[in-house]
Protein backbone atom coordinates (compact mmCIF):
# COMPACT_ATOMS: atom_id res chain seq x y z
CA UNK A 1 0.00 0.00 0.00
CA UNK A 2 1.28 3.49 -0.88
CA UNK A 3 2.29 5.43 2.22
CA UNK A 4 0.27 8.55 2.95
CA UNK A 5 1.74 11.91 3.85
CA UNK A 6 1.19 13.19 7.37
CA UNK A 7 -1.45 15.60 6.09
CA UNK A 8 -3.23 12.77 4.29
CA UNK A 9 -3.07 10.66 7.43
CA UNK A 10 -4.62 13.41 9.50
CA UNK A 11 -7.42 13.85 6.97
CA UNK A 12 -7.93 10.09 7.00
CA UNK A 13 -8.26 10.11 10.79
CA UNK A 14 -10.95 12.78 10.54
CA UNK A 15 -12.81 10.81 7.87
CA UNK A 16 -12.68 7.75 10.12
CA UNK A 17 -14.10 9.82 12.99
CA UNK A 18 -16.94 11.04 10.78
CA UNK A 19 -17.75 7.47 9.84
CA UNK A 20 -17.71 6.44 13.51
CA UNK A 21 -20.30 9.13 14.29
CA UNK A 22 -22.48 8.04 11.35
CA UNK A 23 -22.20 4.34 12.30
CA UNK A 24 -23.07 4.92 15.95
CA UNK A 25 -25.96 7.24 15.18
CA UNK A 26 -27.37 4.73 12.71
CA UNK A 27 -26.88 1.78 15.09
CA UNK A 28 -28.48 3.63 18.00
CA UNK A 29 -26.13 1.97 20.46
CA UNK A 30 -22.41 1.53 21.01
CA UNK A 31 -19.40 3.34 22.39
CA UNK A 32 -18.42 6.84 21.28
CA UNK A 33 -15.52 8.15 23.33
CA UNK A 34 -13.00 5.31 22.91
CA UNK A 35 -13.26 4.91 19.12
CA UNK A 36 -12.95 8.67 18.57
CA UNK A 37 -9.92 8.81 20.88
CA UNK A 38 -8.31 5.86 19.10
CA UNK A 39 -8.83 7.15 15.56
CA UNK A 40 -5.32 8.56 15.21
CA UNK A 41 -3.74 5.34 16.49
CA UNK A 42 -5.79 3.18 14.11
CA UNK A 43 -4.99 5.50 11.23
CA UNK A 44 -1.29 5.17 12.06
CA UNK A 45 -1.60 1.37 12.32
CA UNK A 46 -3.64 0.64 9.19
CA UNK A 47 -2.07 3.29 6.94
CA UNK A 48 1.56 3.20 8.01
CA UNK A 49 2.69 0.81 10.77
CA UNK A 50 1.13 -2.56 9.93
CA UNK A 51 2.41 -4.94 7.31
CA UNK A 52 -0.88 -6.14 5.85
CA UNK A 53 -2.86 -6.63 2.65
CA UNK A 54 -6.56 -5.66 2.71
CA UNK A 55 -7.16 -7.94 -0.29
CA UNK A 56 -5.43 -10.92 1.39
CA UNK A 57 -6.49 -10.71 5.04
CA UNK A 58 -4.93 -14.11 5.78
CA UNK A 59 -1.56 -13.31 4.15
CA UNK A 60 0.80 -15.53 6.17
CA UNK A 61 3.48 -12.85 6.59
CA UNK A 62 1.14 -10.15 7.88
CA UNK A 63 1.50 -8.43 11.22
CA UNK A 64 -1.25 -9.25 13.71
CA UNK A 65 -3.42 -6.51 15.21
CA UNK A 66 -5.51 -7.43 18.24
CA UNK A 67 -8.14 -5.14 19.72
CA UNK A 68 -8.45 -6.33 23.29
CA UNK A 69 -11.08 -3.77 24.28
CA UNK A 70 -13.51 -5.01 21.67
CA UNK A 71 -16.11 -2.34 22.46
CA UNK A 72 -13.96 0.16 20.55
CA UNK A 73 -14.35 -1.86 17.34
CA UNK A 74 -16.18 0.89 15.36
CA UNK A 75 -12.79 2.56 14.88
CA UNK A 76 -11.34 -0.68 13.57
CA UNK A 77 -14.24 -1.29 11.19
CA UNK A 78 -13.99 2.26 9.88
CA UNK A 79 -10.21 2.04 9.44
CA UNK A 80 -10.54 -1.33 7.71
CA UNK A 81 -13.16 -0.01 5.31
CA UNK A 82 -10.99 2.99 4.45
CA UNK A 83 -8.00 0.67 3.98
CA UNK A 84 -10.00 -1.41 1.47
CA UNK A 85 -11.00 -4.52 3.43
CA UNK A 86 -14.66 -3.95 2.51
CA UNK A 87 -16.98 -1.30 1.10
CA UNK A 88 -17.59 1.73 3.31
CA UNK A 89 -21.36 1.32 2.76
CA UNK A 90 -21.25 -1.77 4.94
CA UNK A 91 -20.24 0.37 7.92
CA UNK A 92 -23.87 1.37 8.40
CA UNK A 93 -24.80 -2.26 9.11
CA UNK A 94 -22.93 -2.05 12.45
CA UNK A 95 -24.81 -3.92 15.19
CA UNK A 96 -27.68 -4.86 12.82
CA UNK A 97 -29.11 -8.36 12.46
CA UNK A 98 -27.18 -10.35 9.87
CA UNK A 99 -24.25 -7.92 9.74
CA UNK A 100 -20.61 -9.00 9.63
CA UNK A 101 -19.97 -5.97 11.83
CA UNK A 102 -21.01 -7.35 15.21
CA UNK A 103 -21.33 -5.06 18.23
CA UNK A 104 -18.13 -6.66 19.49
CA UNK A 105 -15.80 -8.11 16.86
CA UNK A 106 -16.03 -11.78 15.87
CA UNK A 107 -13.22 -13.48 14.03
CA UNK A 108 -15.39 -15.84 12.05
CA UNK A 109 -17.74 -13.08 10.84
CA UNK A 110 -15.30 -10.69 9.17
CA UNK A 111 -11.99 -11.49 7.42
CA UNK A 112 -9.24 -9.34 8.89
CA UNK A 113 -10.53 -9.62 12.45
CA UNK A 114 -7.87 -11.75 14.16
CA UNK A 115 -9.77 -12.65 17.33
CA UNK A 116 -13.18 -12.43 18.93
CA UNK A 117 -13.03 -9.89 21.75
CA UNK A 118 -15.17 -7.88 24.10
CA UNK A 119 -14.85 -9.37 27.57
CA UNK A 120 -11.81 -7.47 28.79
CA UNK A 121 -8.30 -8.55 29.68
CA UNK A 122 -7.79 -11.32 27.10
CA UNK A 123 -5.94 -9.66 24.23
CA UNK A 124 -2.50 -9.56 25.77
CA UNK A 125 -2.66 -13.27 26.64
CA UNK A 126 -3.66 -14.10 23.08
CA UNK A 127 -0.81 -11.90 21.86
CA UNK A 128 1.54 -13.97 24.06
CA UNK A 129 0.30 -17.21 22.50
CA UNK A 130 0.69 -15.76 18.99
CA UNK A 131 4.15 -14.36 19.74
CA UNK A 132 5.27 -17.69 21.20
CA UNK A 133 3.99 -19.52 18.10
CA UNK A 134 5.86 -17.08 15.83
CA UNK A 135 9.00 -17.70 17.81
CA UNK A 136 8.57 -21.50 17.62
CA UNK A 137 8.22 -21.12 13.85
CA UNK A 138 11.27 -18.82 13.66
CA UNK A 139 9.17 -16.00 12.19
CA UNK A 140 11.31 -13.02 13.13
CA UNK A 141 9.75 -10.67 10.58
CA UNK A 142 6.28 -10.43 12.12
CA UNK A 143 4.87 -8.42 15.02
CA UNK A 144 1.82 -8.70 17.22
CA UNK A 145 0.28 -5.32 18.04
CA UNK A 146 -2.34 -5.34 20.77
CA UNK A 147 -4.48 -2.32 21.60
CA UNK A 148 -5.90 -2.26 25.12
CA UNK A 149 -8.06 0.12 27.10
CA UNK A 150 -6.82 1.61 30.37
CA UNK A 151 -9.91 0.59 32.37
CA UNK A 152 -9.23 -2.91 31.08
CA UNK A 153 -6.05 -2.98 33.16
CA UNK A 154 -8.26 -3.64 36.22
CA UNK A 155 -8.47 -7.23 34.95
CA UNK A 156 -6.04 -9.67 36.60
CA UNK A 157 -5.71 -11.60 33.34
CA UNK A 158 -3.73 -8.65 31.91
CA UNK A 159 -1.05 -8.92 34.58
CA UNK A 160 -0.80 -12.69 34.21
CA UNK A 161 0.01 -12.05 30.55
CA UNK A 162 2.37 -9.21 31.42
CA UNK A 163 4.48 -11.58 33.53
CA UNK A 164 4.52 -14.28 30.85
CA UNK A 165 5.59 -11.89 28.07
CA UNK A 166 8.46 -10.60 30.21
CA UNK A 167 9.50 -14.12 31.24
CA UNK A 168 9.81 -15.26 27.63
CA UNK A 169 11.21 -11.88 26.49
CA UNK A 170 8.52 -11.57 23.83
CA UNK A 171 9.91 -8.51 22.07
CA UNK A 172 7.65 -9.32 19.10
CA UNK A 173 4.71 -7.99 21.13
CA UNK A 174 3.97 -4.26 21.00
CA UNK A 175 1.19 -3.26 23.36
CA UNK A 176 -0.63 0.04 23.02
CA UNK A 177 -2.65 1.26 26.00
CA UNK A 178 -5.35 3.79 25.18
CA UNK A 179 -4.71 5.97 28.24
CA UNK A 180 -7.81 8.15 28.12
CA UNK A 181 -8.41 8.13 31.89
CA UNK A 182 -12.08 7.16 31.73
CA UNK A 183 -14.10 3.99 32.20
CA UNK A 184 -17.82 3.33 32.54
CA UNK A 185 -18.23 4.32 36.19
CA UNK A 186 -16.01 7.42 35.98
CA UNK A 187 -12.36 8.51 35.92
CA UNK A 188 -9.96 5.54 36.12
CA UNK A 189 -8.18 7.06 39.10
CA UNK A 190 -11.47 7.14 41.03
CA UNK A 191 -12.85 3.76 39.92
CA UNK A 192 -9.56 1.91 40.41
CA UNK A 193 -6.32 3.90 40.42
CA UNK A 194 -3.78 2.74 37.82
CA UNK A 195 -0.93 5.14 38.44
CA UNK A 196 2.02 5.01 38.41
CA UNK A 197 1.25 3.13 35.20
CA UNK A 198 4.66 3.57 33.60
CA UNK A 199 6.43 2.26 36.68
CA UNK A 200 4.00 -0.67 36.93
CA UNK A 201 4.81 -1.92 33.42
CA UNK A 202 8.49 -1.24 34.00
CA UNK A 203 8.39 -3.27 37.21
CA UNK A 204 6.71 -6.10 35.29
CA UNK A 205 9.72 -6.24 32.97
CA UNK A 206 8.46 -4.24 30.00
CA UNK A 207 10.12 -1.46 28.02
CA UNK A 208 7.71 1.48 28.26
CA UNK A 209 7.27 4.34 25.78
CA UNK A 210 4.89 7.23 26.51
CA UNK A 211 3.40 9.10 23.63
CA UNK A 212 0.61 11.51 22.65
CA UNK A 213 -1.84 9.05 21.16
CA UNK A 214 -3.58 11.76 19.17
CA UNK A 215 -0.34 12.66 17.36
CA UNK A 216 -0.17 10.30 14.37
CA UNK A 217 3.47 10.99 13.65
CA UNK A 218 4.43 10.36 17.28
CA UNK A 219 2.50 7.06 17.28
CA UNK A 220 4.27 5.91 14.10
CA UNK A 221 7.65 6.87 15.61
CA UNK A 222 6.83 5.07 18.88
CA UNK A 223 6.00 1.86 16.99
CA UNK A 224 9.28 2.12 15.09
CA UNK A 225 11.17 2.56 18.36
CA UNK A 226 9.26 -0.38 19.85
CA UNK A 227 10.31 -2.68 17.00
CA UNK A 228 13.94 -1.80 17.72
CA UNK A 229 13.77 -3.03 21.32
CA UNK A 230 15.27 -6.47 21.91
CA UNK A 231 15.00 -8.73 24.97
CA UNK A 232 11.79 -7.11 26.25
CA UNK A 233 8.18 -6.70 25.22
CA UNK A 234 7.21 -3.07 24.69
CA UNK A 235 4.22 -1.19 26.07
CA UNK A 236 3.31 2.12 24.46
CA UNK A 237 1.23 4.20 26.85
CA UNK A 238 -0.68 6.37 24.41
CA UNK A 239 -2.30 9.37 26.08
CA UNK A 240 -5.51 10.15 24.24
CA UNK A 241 -8.48 12.42 24.64
CA UNK A 242 -11.70 10.41 24.92
CA UNK A 243 -14.20 11.70 22.36
CA UNK A 244 -11.36 13.48 20.50
CA UNK A 245 -12.58 15.87 17.83
CA UNK A 246 -16.11 16.31 19.17
CA UNK A 247 -16.18 19.15 21.63
CA UNK A 248 -19.13 18.03 23.79
CA UNK A 249 -17.81 14.47 24.08
CA UNK A 250 -14.18 15.20 24.92
CA UNK A 251 -13.09 14.16 28.42
CA UNK A 252 -16.67 13.27 29.47
CA UNK A 253 -16.90 9.71 30.80
CA UNK A 254 -20.66 9.67 30.17
CA UNK A 255 -19.84 9.26 26.46
CA UNK A 256 -17.91 6.04 27.10
CA UNK A 257 -20.82 3.76 26.30
CA UNK A 258 -23.33 6.04 24.53
CA UNK A 259 -24.07 6.76 20.86
CA UNK A 260 -25.03 10.25 19.61
CA UNK A 261 -28.68 10.88 18.65
CA UNK A 262 -29.50 12.61 15.37
CA UNK A 263 -29.01 16.16 16.64
CA UNK A 264 -25.84 15.28 18.49
CA UNK A 265 -24.46 13.48 15.45
CA UNK A 266 -25.09 16.59 13.34
CA UNK A 267 -23.21 18.71 15.84
CA UNK A 268 -20.41 16.13 16.08
CA UNK A 269 -19.95 16.02 12.32
CA UNK A 270 -19.85 19.82 12.24
CA UNK A 271 -17.16 19.78 14.95
CA UNK A 272 -15.12 17.25 13.02
CA UNK A 273 -15.37 19.18 9.76
CA UNK A 274 -14.28 22.37 11.51
CA UNK A 275 -11.33 20.53 12.98
CA UNK A 276 -10.52 19.19 9.57
CA UNK A 277 -10.35 22.75 8.30
CA UNK A 278 -8.06 23.66 11.17
CA UNK A 279 -5.63 20.83 10.49
CA UNK A 280 -5.53 21.71 6.81
CA UNK A 281 -4.70 25.31 7.53
CA UNK A 282 -1.96 24.29 9.94
CA UNK A 283 -0.30 22.05 7.41
CA UNK A 284 -0.74 23.93 4.19
Amino acid sequence: MKKLTLEQLELKATEIREDIIRMLEHAGSGHSAGPLGLSDIFTALYFDVLKHDPHKPDWPDRDILLLSNGHCVPVRYAAMAHAGYFDRKELLTLRQFGSRLQGHPEREKLPGIEHTSGPLGCGLSQACGMALAMRMDLQTHRWVYVVMGDGELDEGNVWEAAMLAAKYKLNNIIGIIDRNNIQIDGPTEVVMPLEDLKDKWGAFGWHVIEVNGNDIEAVIDACAMARAVVEKPVMIIAHTIPGMGVDFMEYDFHWHGMPPNHEQAKEALHDLRTLKGKIRSEHE
Binding site: R107, H115, T116, G118, S125, E160
Partner: protein, 325 residues
Amino acid sequence: MNEMHLVKDVQVKGLATEPIRKGFGRGLLVAGQQNANVVAACADLTESTQMHLFRDEYPERFVEIGVAEQNLVTVGSGLAAMGKIPFVSSYAAFSPGRNWEQIRTTICLNNQPVKIIGSHAGISVGPDGATHQMLEDIALMRSLPNMVVLAPCDSIEAEKMTMAMANDPRPNYMRLAREATPVFTTPNTPLEIGKAYIFEPGNDVTIIATGTMTYQALLAAQKLFKEGIDAEVLHVPTIKPLDIETILKSVRKTRAVVTAEEAQINGGLGGAIAELLGEELPIPLQRVGVRDRFGESGKPEELMDHFGLSDKNIMLAAHIVNDKK
Protein backbone atom coordinates in the same frame (compact mmCIF):
# COMPACT_ATOMS: atom_id res chain seq x y z
CA MET B 1 -18.17 -58.57 23.97
CA ASN B 2 -15.34 -59.60 21.74
CA GLU B 3 -15.34 -56.75 19.29
CA MET B 4 -14.74 -54.31 22.17
CA HIS B 5 -11.55 -56.19 23.08
CA LEU B 6 -11.92 -55.60 26.81
CA VAL B 7 -9.87 -57.65 29.27
CA LYS B 8 -11.43 -61.10 29.76
CA ASP B 9 -12.98 -60.78 33.20
CA VAL B 10 -13.30 -57.30 34.68
CA GLN B 11 -13.98 -58.78 38.10
CA VAL B 12 -10.66 -60.56 38.33
CA LYS B 13 -8.81 -59.49 41.44
CA GLY B 14 -5.40 -58.07 40.67
CA LEU B 15 -6.47 -56.36 37.47
CA ALA B 16 -3.71 -53.87 36.66
CA THR B 17 -4.44 -50.31 37.78
CA GLU B 18 -3.05 -46.99 36.59
CA PRO B 19 -4.16 -43.36 36.87
CA ILE B 20 -6.08 -42.28 33.76
CA ARG B 21 -3.91 -39.13 33.54
CA LYS B 22 -0.85 -41.30 32.80
CA GLY B 23 -2.43 -42.34 29.53
CA PHE B 24 -2.82 -38.68 28.65
CA GLY B 25 0.89 -38.08 29.26
CA ARG B 26 1.87 -40.92 26.93
CA GLY B 27 -0.69 -39.94 24.31
CA LEU B 28 0.52 -36.34 24.24
CA LEU B 29 4.08 -37.48 23.66
CA VAL B 30 3.00 -39.64 20.72
CA ALA B 31 0.79 -36.86 19.33
CA GLY B 32 3.81 -34.56 19.58
CA GLN B 33 5.96 -37.04 17.68
CA GLN B 34 3.34 -37.39 14.95
CA ASN B 35 2.57 -33.70 14.50
CA ALA B 36 5.06 -30.86 14.94
CA ASN B 37 2.21 -28.40 15.48
CA VAL B 38 1.23 -30.05 18.77
CA VAL B 39 2.36 -27.78 21.62
CA ALA B 40 1.65 -27.78 25.34
CA ALA B 41 1.23 -25.34 28.21
CA CYS B 42 0.72 -25.97 31.91
CA ALA B 43 -0.15 -23.94 34.99
CA ASP B 44 2.49 -25.15 37.45
CA LEU B 45 1.27 -28.79 37.57
CA THR B 46 3.39 -30.31 34.85
CA GLU B 47 4.22 -33.65 36.48
CA SER B 48 0.87 -33.94 38.19
CA THR B 49 -0.96 -33.59 34.88
CA GLN B 50 1.68 -35.81 33.21
CA MET B 51 2.83 -33.17 30.75
CA HIS B 52 6.44 -33.63 31.80
CA LEU B 53 6.96 -36.41 29.24
CA PHE B 54 6.19 -33.94 26.46
CA ARG B 55 8.07 -31.07 28.14
CA ASP B 56 11.25 -33.12 28.50
CA GLU B 57 11.13 -34.27 24.88
CA TYR B 58 10.05 -30.96 23.33
CA PRO B 59 11.08 -28.12 25.66
CA GLU B 60 10.88 -25.59 22.80
CA ARG B 61 7.21 -26.50 22.26
CA PHE B 62 6.26 -26.28 25.93
CA VAL B 63 5.15 -23.14 27.80
CA GLU B 64 5.21 -22.94 31.60
CA ILE B 65 2.46 -20.47 32.45
CA GLY B 66 2.74 -20.44 36.26
CA VAL B 67 -0.29 -20.45 38.54
CA ALA B 68 -2.47 -18.46 36.14
CA GLU B 69 -5.31 -20.47 34.63
CA GLN B 70 -6.99 -17.52 32.91
CA ASN B 71 -3.75 -16.88 31.08
CA LEU B 72 -3.31 -20.61 30.40
CA VAL B 73 -6.35 -21.00 28.18
CA THR B 74 -6.10 -17.56 26.61
CA VAL B 75 -2.47 -18.12 25.62
CA GLY B 76 -3.79 -21.40 24.20
CA SER B 77 -6.25 -19.41 22.09
CA GLY B 78 -3.35 -17.35 20.69
CA LEU B 79 -1.25 -20.42 19.94
CA ALA B 80 -4.17 -22.03 18.10
CA ALA B 81 -4.75 -18.84 16.08
CA MET B 82 -1.29 -19.33 14.59
CA GLY B 83 -1.94 -22.92 13.53
CA LYS B 84 -0.71 -24.73 16.62
CA ILE B 85 -2.64 -27.52 18.34
CA PRO B 86 -2.26 -26.49 21.97
CA PHE B 87 -2.92 -28.86 24.88
CA VAL B 88 -3.33 -26.83 28.08
CA SER B 89 -3.48 -28.58 31.42
CA SER B 90 -4.23 -27.92 35.07
CA TYR B 91 -6.53 -29.39 37.69
CA ALA B 92 -10.16 -29.39 36.58
CA ALA B 93 -11.10 -27.31 39.65
CA PHE B 94 -9.02 -24.44 38.24
CA SER B 95 -9.34 -25.07 34.52
CA PRO B 96 -12.19 -24.96 33.52
CA GLY B 97 -13.16 -24.04 37.11
CA ARG B 98 -11.64 -20.57 37.16
CA ASN B 99 -11.41 -19.57 33.50
CA TRP B 100 -14.83 -20.35 32.05
CA GLU B 101 -15.38 -16.95 30.45
CA GLN B 102 -11.98 -17.00 28.74
CA ILE B 103 -12.83 -20.45 27.39
CA ARG B 104 -16.23 -19.22 26.24
CA THR B 105 -15.01 -16.11 24.42
CA THR B 106 -11.47 -16.81 23.23
CA ILE B 107 -11.82 -20.55 22.51
CA CYS B 108 -15.47 -21.44 21.84
CA LEU B 109 -16.92 -18.27 20.28
CA ASN B 110 -13.53 -17.54 18.67
CA ASN B 111 -13.64 -21.20 17.55
CA GLN B 112 -10.01 -22.15 18.08
CA PRO B 113 -9.07 -25.83 18.54
CA VAL B 114 -7.58 -25.58 22.03
CA LYS B 115 -7.40 -28.88 23.94
CA ILE B 116 -8.23 -28.28 27.60
CA ILE B 117 -7.13 -30.99 30.02
CA GLY B 118 -8.76 -30.98 33.48
CA SER B 119 -6.91 -33.43 35.67
CA HIS B 120 -7.90 -34.55 39.17
CA ALA B 121 -11.60 -34.39 38.36
CA GLY B 122 -14.18 -36.16 40.53
CA ILE B 123 -14.60 -37.10 44.16
CA SER B 124 -11.84 -39.73 44.02
CA VAL B 125 -9.24 -36.96 44.35
CA GLY B 126 -9.70 -37.90 48.01
CA PRO B 127 -7.81 -36.26 50.90
CA ASP B 128 -7.50 -32.82 49.24
CA GLY B 129 -11.18 -32.28 49.95
CA ALA B 130 -14.06 -30.43 48.32
CA THR B 131 -12.06 -27.46 46.95
CA HIS B 132 -10.10 -29.78 44.66
CA GLN B 133 -12.80 -32.36 43.90
CA MET B 134 -14.15 -30.92 40.66
CA LEU B 135 -17.70 -32.11 40.02
CA GLU B 136 -19.12 -29.28 37.91
CA ASP B 137 -16.72 -29.34 34.96
CA ILE B 138 -18.95 -31.43 32.70
CA ALA B 139 -21.87 -29.03 33.26
CA LEU B 140 -19.63 -26.00 32.64
CA MET B 141 -18.16 -27.31 29.42
CA ARG B 142 -21.30 -29.00 28.13
CA SER B 143 -23.15 -25.68 28.05
CA LEU B 144 -20.69 -24.14 25.55
CA PRO B 145 -21.39 -24.18 21.80
CA ASN B 146 -18.53 -25.68 19.72
CA MET B 147 -17.03 -27.50 22.73
CA VAL B 148 -16.48 -31.27 22.71
CA VAL B 149 -16.58 -32.90 26.17
CA LEU B 150 -14.64 -36.11 26.79
CA ALA B 151 -14.17 -38.47 29.75
CA PRO B 152 -12.02 -41.58 29.15
CA CYS B 153 -12.62 -44.66 31.28
CA ASP B 154 -9.02 -45.82 31.79
CA SER B 155 -5.44 -44.92 30.96
CA ILE B 156 -5.35 -46.83 27.68
CA GLU B 157 -8.43 -45.04 26.42
CA ALA B 158 -7.02 -41.69 27.59
CA GLU B 159 -3.91 -42.31 25.50
CA LYS B 160 -5.96 -43.00 22.38
CA MET B 161 -8.27 -40.11 23.07
CA THR B 162 -5.37 -37.66 23.37
CA MET B 163 -4.16 -38.69 19.93
CA ALA B 164 -7.71 -38.35 18.56
CA MET B 165 -7.98 -34.86 20.09
CA ALA B 166 -4.86 -33.76 18.21
CA ASN B 167 -6.68 -34.61 14.97
CA ASP B 168 -10.01 -33.03 15.93
CA PRO B 169 -10.55 -29.50 14.55
CA ARG B 170 -12.81 -28.37 17.40
CA PRO B 171 -12.23 -27.04 20.93
CA ASN B 172 -12.04 -30.08 23.25
CA TYR B 173 -12.27 -30.60 27.00
CA MET B 174 -11.03 -33.87 28.53
CA ARG B 175 -11.44 -34.71 32.20
CA LEU B 176 -8.96 -37.02 33.94
CA ALA B 177 -8.85 -38.72 37.32
CA ARG B 178 -6.02 -38.70 39.83
CA GLU B 179 -6.20 -42.15 41.46
CA ALA B 180 -5.05 -45.41 39.95
CA THR B 181 -8.11 -47.18 38.48
CA PRO B 182 -8.46 -50.57 36.76
CA VAL B 183 -7.19 -50.86 33.21
CA PHE B 184 -9.84 -52.91 31.43
CA THR B 185 -9.72 -51.73 27.83
CA THR B 186 -6.91 -52.87 25.53
CA PRO B 187 -5.02 -51.25 22.67
CA ASN B 188 -7.53 -52.88 20.31
CA THR B 189 -10.62 -51.43 21.99
CA PRO B 190 -12.18 -48.98 19.51
CA LEU B 191 -12.29 -45.26 20.24
CA GLU B 192 -13.56 -42.45 18.10
CA ILE B 193 -14.62 -39.03 19.33
CA GLY B 194 -18.43 -38.81 19.15
CA LYS B 195 -19.08 -42.54 19.47
CA ALA B 196 -20.67 -44.53 22.33
CA TYR B 197 -19.75 -48.20 22.74
CA ILE B 198 -21.65 -51.24 23.98
CA PHE B 199 -19.14 -52.68 26.43
CA GLU B 200 -21.61 -55.31 27.65
CA PRO B 201 -24.71 -56.31 25.66
CA GLY B 202 -28.01 -56.85 27.47
CA ASN B 203 -31.78 -56.53 27.14
CA ASP B 204 -33.39 -55.37 30.38
CA VAL B 205 -31.74 -52.07 31.41
CA THR B 206 -29.28 -49.70 29.68
CA ILE B 207 -26.53 -48.44 31.97
CA ILE B 208 -24.99 -45.35 30.39
CA ALA B 209 -21.65 -44.58 32.03
CA THR B 210 -18.66 -42.35 31.51
CA GLY B 211 -15.13 -41.92 32.91
CA THR B 212 -14.26 -43.91 36.02
CA MET B 213 -17.87 -45.08 36.44
CA THR B 214 -17.81 -47.25 33.33
CA TYR B 215 -15.80 -49.85 35.25
CA GLN B 216 -18.30 -49.71 38.10
CA ALA B 217 -21.09 -50.20 35.57
CA LEU B 218 -19.43 -53.35 34.22
CA LEU B 219 -19.10 -54.73 37.76
CA ALA B 220 -22.74 -53.91 38.43
CA ALA B 221 -23.88 -55.58 35.20
CA GLN B 222 -22.15 -58.86 36.10
CA LYS B 223 -23.76 -58.89 39.55
CA LEU B 224 -27.15 -57.87 38.18
CA PHE B 225 -27.10 -60.81 35.79
CA LYS B 226 -26.97 -63.15 38.80
CA GLU B 227 -29.99 -61.29 40.20
CA GLY B 228 -31.97 -61.79 36.99
CA ILE B 229 -31.40 -58.46 35.26
CA ASP B 230 -29.64 -58.55 31.90
CA ALA B 231 -28.09 -55.07 31.73
CA GLU B 232 -26.51 -53.45 28.70
CA VAL B 233 -23.50 -51.24 29.50
CA LEU B 234 -23.04 -48.30 27.18
CA HIS B 235 -19.72 -46.52 27.57
CA VAL B 236 -19.99 -42.84 26.61
CA PRO B 237 -16.49 -41.35 26.42
CA THR B 238 -17.89 -38.39 24.43
CA ILE B 239 -20.44 -36.60 26.60
CA LYS B 240 -20.86 -33.86 24.00
CA PRO B 241 -21.84 -34.34 21.24
CA LEU B 242 -23.75 -37.43 22.41
CA ASP B 243 -23.92 -40.48 20.16
CA ILE B 244 -27.71 -40.18 20.06
CA GLU B 245 -28.21 -42.98 17.56
CA THR B 246 -26.41 -45.65 19.62
CA ILE B 247 -28.02 -44.47 22.86
CA LEU B 248 -31.60 -44.42 21.52
CA LYS B 249 -31.14 -47.79 19.81
CA SER B 250 -30.17 -49.37 23.12
CA VAL B 251 -32.89 -47.59 25.09
CA ARG B 252 -35.64 -48.54 22.60
CA LYS B 253 -34.67 -52.13 23.30
CA THR B 254 -34.40 -52.01 27.10
CA ARG B 255 -36.96 -49.25 27.97
CA ALA B 256 -35.11 -48.48 31.22
CA VAL B 257 -31.99 -46.36 31.85
CA VAL B 258 -29.42 -45.76 34.57
CA THR B 259 -26.70 -43.12 34.10
CA ALA B 260 -23.42 -43.19 36.06
CA GLU B 261 -20.75 -40.51 36.40
CA GLU B 262 -18.31 -39.16 38.96
CA ALA B 263 -19.73 -35.64 38.73
CA GLN B 264 -22.81 -33.57 39.50
CA ILE B 265 -25.78 -35.19 37.79
CA ASN B 266 -27.19 -31.67 37.32
CA GLY B 267 -25.79 -30.65 33.97
CA GLY B 268 -23.59 -33.72 33.79
CA LEU B 269 -24.01 -36.91 31.78
CA GLY B 270 -27.19 -37.61 33.78
CA GLY B 271 -28.52 -34.20 32.82
CA ALA B 272 -27.62 -34.75 29.18
CA ILE B 273 -29.35 -38.14 29.01
CA ALA B 274 -32.42 -36.84 30.87
CA GLU B 275 -32.69 -34.01 28.34
CA LEU B 276 -32.34 -36.40 25.42
CA LEU B 277 -34.84 -38.97 26.71
CA GLY B 278 -37.26 -36.28 27.91
CA GLU B 279 -37.59 -35.10 24.31
CA GLU B 280 -37.15 -38.35 22.40
CA LEU B 281 -38.17 -41.30 24.51
CA PRO B 282 -39.53 -40.70 28.03
CA ILE B 283 -38.94 -43.92 29.99
CA PRO B 284 -37.89 -44.78 33.60
CA LEU B 285 -34.53 -43.15 34.41
CA GLN B 286 -32.28 -43.10 37.48
CA ARG B 287 -29.10 -41.05 37.66
CA VAL B 288 -26.10 -42.20 39.70
CA GLY B 289 -23.71 -39.37 40.50
CA VAL B 290 -23.21 -36.53 42.95
CA ARG B 291 -26.53 -34.98 43.91
CA ASP B 292 -26.16 -31.22 44.31
CA ARG B 293 -23.56 -31.25 47.08
CA PHE B 294 -19.82 -30.78 47.57
CA GLY B 295 -17.32 -33.48 48.46
CA GLU B 296 -15.05 -33.75 51.50
CA SER B 297 -11.70 -35.22 52.57
CA GLY B 298 -11.32 -38.97 52.82
CA LYS B 299 -9.94 -42.04 51.12
CA PRO B 300 -11.13 -42.38 47.52
CA GLU B 301 -12.98 -45.69 48.13
CA GLU B 302 -14.82 -44.48 51.21
CA LEU B 303 -15.80 -41.26 49.42
CA MET B 304 -17.10 -43.17 46.39
CA ASP B 305 -19.22 -45.26 48.79
CA HIS B 306 -20.38 -42.30 50.86
CA PHE B 307 -21.43 -40.24 47.83
CA GLY B 308 -23.23 -43.16 46.19
CA LEU B 309 -20.78 -43.78 43.36
CA SER B 310 -20.22 -47.53 43.55
CA ASP B 311 -21.44 -50.58 41.64
CA LYS B 312 -23.97 -51.12 44.46
CA ASN B 313 -25.63 -47.79 43.71
CA ILE B 314 -25.84 -48.63 40.03
CA MET B 315 -27.41 -52.02 40.87
CA LEU B 316 -30.01 -50.42 43.13
CA ALA B 317 -30.85 -47.89 40.44
CA ALA B 318 -31.14 -50.66 37.83
CA HIS B 319 -33.66 -52.52 40.01
CA ILE B 320 -35.71 -49.35 40.45
CA VAL B 321 -35.98 -48.59 36.71
CA ASN B 322 -36.52 -52.26 35.86
CA ASP B 323 -39.41 -52.46 38.32
CA LYS B 324 -41.00 -49.33 36.84
CA LYS B 325 -41.14 -50.71 33.30
